[in-house]
Symmetry: C2
Subunit: 429 residues, 2 copies
């Protein structure tokens, strides 16, 4: 392990404090696992109500965080990220109501069958247990992650960024009021009550008390957490998403999908970073695509063919194909058909989300089957890579891993299963 | 990370050699992912045929391993483990036929729905990609793991124990012949061609080329692999399984289930290690249970009540409740009803397999819901904890983790899914 390490040298009182949180969470998880859906939903609705009732306290706490951030000279986009408004507080409360209205993920019988010896076997959905969420900057994660974990019957330990510690405390207090109103244990949703960075290291070593870690934030946070965790991690690293405009693409659709995929919001993981264009439509589609992107305010970095298509295109370097800009920049390359596009994506992609624009079903099928990404789209924008857009309700993130959960991680993905076997005294021969 | 480390200081040629294996596997995985089920099944059947045709070569190779083991003074049970017989070779071939006959796990549409904007979303089962299997002693794992991975469309890198290197090579050669006969890439199933221990360290760092690691062997192997791997691990550590005889248990059933759970085979992870007896049947059931176990050749270590029930019971120490004997020894304790049994299992259990014997459905439901184990049984022996007994065909192991796969890991569990989204030019508002 050569990755940079989080500080792990915690003083004993901190270790004890963190382990006490974990033991509380473990006990709460046992209660949540058998709490009826009604009770969990009641807790969510009550938590939403408490957030509305305490909106001013939450905004006041947030003002303290903003003042502290300003005093420390935090960069403007980071201050913007942590800033709450009455609208954002209302949206948090509404999010909890939405999660409550979503179907119960627990108890579902995923499969059942009977064996020749009479044993009846069911695979039944159960919570994961205790989830640790480590995040930065956005205080709404406190409500969203807390709500999703409660919905899915999991206890959660929330470790937010120190820059929004007061905001997170105020939101967590509202969630606690919701739990209390529903008769659920307070330890179902716990916020780490210290900004000591060593607490993260302790948390990542508590593999007897936490079942899964979900990091949310920048790449460096996610990499550090993944490198140091003794607990399985659900994560996404990069969203280096592609749009491939096939030789049989409708030009209007290609332009609409490409511009939306790149420019609707450039800072999200589902934003397109590279446009691949089939050589067959180099003359007919490429100049129009490039012009539309530039007109929308996008910098275009292209291969020789793309540079030839428009004088405003900047030559792309090898690094550009591997860069997630998260900005109004796109790399553009001409490829030799769908197989060449698939090969480019296999080499440079991040297994997140990739789209083909074509009217040819055979090319679409080939692309959808062979591109090894969590989400593959045909004639649709990569910006649909979102649990809400998928109709899954809130999401705790998008997984680019293949184990356990892939793509949007909602309440269903925060569950495991157990086998329940009913017999009449069977013994194994 | 304080766990003991595997040697990681590989010389550059070894690193290159291992990475070349990984790159070959990655390329083969792309082919397997779109290879039709017929072709994969044809490869399995041909591999089984090749094992039969080469039975003598395999036995000769095994004889070399046995001679080397004897020369090194390997303990008798270990020599027994690595020894092949004509029957065992035939069983390997039959296992491949069985896997071929099993339904194709790939391509299944796990869920599909349409969004109000017209997008059609499918969740489709796909292979994981490249699986690394690290195992000890039993050469049949080469055929079983290779076969399961091929069935599930995954490429596999097999790293067997040095003590059966020649046997594994001979079996892998037969598998390669099967792949060749079916027109599948040889790199779909690769055996690490060196006994250099540093190869394992290199393998565990190849997180760009291997998607999941499955260790099979003793606890120390699994712990070392888990501690050192940068790749997600599917594993089981302990099988500390319990039988709880409830106050409403039928005595005959209780005796039959308990003796079978403990004594049918004592060395498997589904063997019971602790018997819990409800105080309500201390007088009626406990002496009979203890006598039946002792008569079957089992050493009984008990609490005061159990010692009082039979003079041959040895007093149990605190360690006994936490010990997986994997031998003809059982710990026995009287508890105060189902909740006390659940609490004991939560404290000492390993989340593997636990059984309740009772005629009272309410007690059974409580136990089945609240015991947090991969497999919970009612009136049946814990020795049913097995993919074959579940009707899942062959298994690569039993997972005690909650992420991704829990319980028996068969072909279905060696898959992931992707979201396939079909549109008509949709862009996100």
């Amino acid at each position: 392990m050569t990755a940079p390490s989080l500080p792990e040298t915690a003083h004993p009182p901190l270790t004890d404090q963190m382990r006490a949180l974990g033991q509380g969470a473990r006990a709460a998880a046992a209660v949540l696992a058998v709490a009826p859906a009604d009770q969990r939903d009641q807790g969510l609705v009550a938590a939403g109500g408490a957030i509305r009732a305490r909106a001013q306290e939450i905004l006041d706490a947030n003002a303290q965080d903003i003042a502290a951030a300003a005093a420390r000279g935090l960069a403007k986009p980071l201050v913007e990220r942590l800033t709450l408004t009455p609208d954002r507080v209302a949206a948090m409360a509404r999010g909890l109501d939405d999660i409550a209205a979503f179907p119960d993920p627990l108890g579902t019988v995923l499969a059942e069958w009977q064996r020749p010896n009479g044993l009846k076997i069911q695979r039944v959905r159960v919570p994961l247990g205790v989830i640790g969420v480590i995040y930065e900057s956005r205080p709404n994660v406190t409500a969203d992650a807390g709500g999703l974990c409660l919905k899915s019957g999991n206890a959660v330990i929330l470790r937010g960024g120190s820059e929004c510690f007061q905001s997170n405390r105020a939101i967590a207090a509202a969630l606690a009021a919701g739990l209390d109103a529903a008769g659920l244990p307070a330890a179902a949703i716990q916020l780490v009550p210290t900004t000591d960075r060593a607490a993260v290291g302790v948390m990542l070593g508590m593999d007897d008390l936490i079942d899964v870690i979900v990091p949310r934030g920048g790449r460096s946070l996610i990499e550090r957490v993944s490198a140091d965790s003794r607990i399985p991690v659900i994560r996404h690293l990069d969203g280096l998403c592609h749009v491939y405009v096939d030789g049989d693409a409708d030009r209007e659709k290609a332009v609409a999908v490409t511009v939306n995929a790149k420019m609707r919001r450039t800072s999200i993981c589902g934003a397109a970073e590279t446009l691949l264009v089939d050589r067959r439509v180099e003359a007919s589609h490429l100049p129009v695509l490039v012009r539309a992107l530039i007109d929308a305010g996008c910098e275009v970095r292209g291969d020789a063919a793309s540079c030839a298509a428009d004088p405003r295109v900047v030559p792309a370097g090898e690094d550009d194909w591997a860069t997630e800009y998260l900005d109004a920049i796109i790399s553009v390359r001409v490829v030799d058909g769908v197989d060449d596009a698939i090969a480019h994506i296999a080499r440079y992609g991040s297994h997140h989300t990739d789209s083909i624009v074509t009217e040819a079903p055979a090319a679409a099928d080939r692309f959808l089957a062979r591109v090894d990404s969590a989400i593959v789209l045909w004639n649709a924008s990569t910006q649909f890579a979102d649990g809400g857009e998928f109709g899954m309700g809130a999401e705790i993130g998008i997984s680019t891993g293949k184990l356990h959960a892939r793509g949007p991680v909602g309440a269903d993905q925060l569950t495991s299963y157990k086998y329940v076997v009913r017999g009449t005294g069977q013994v194994r021969p």
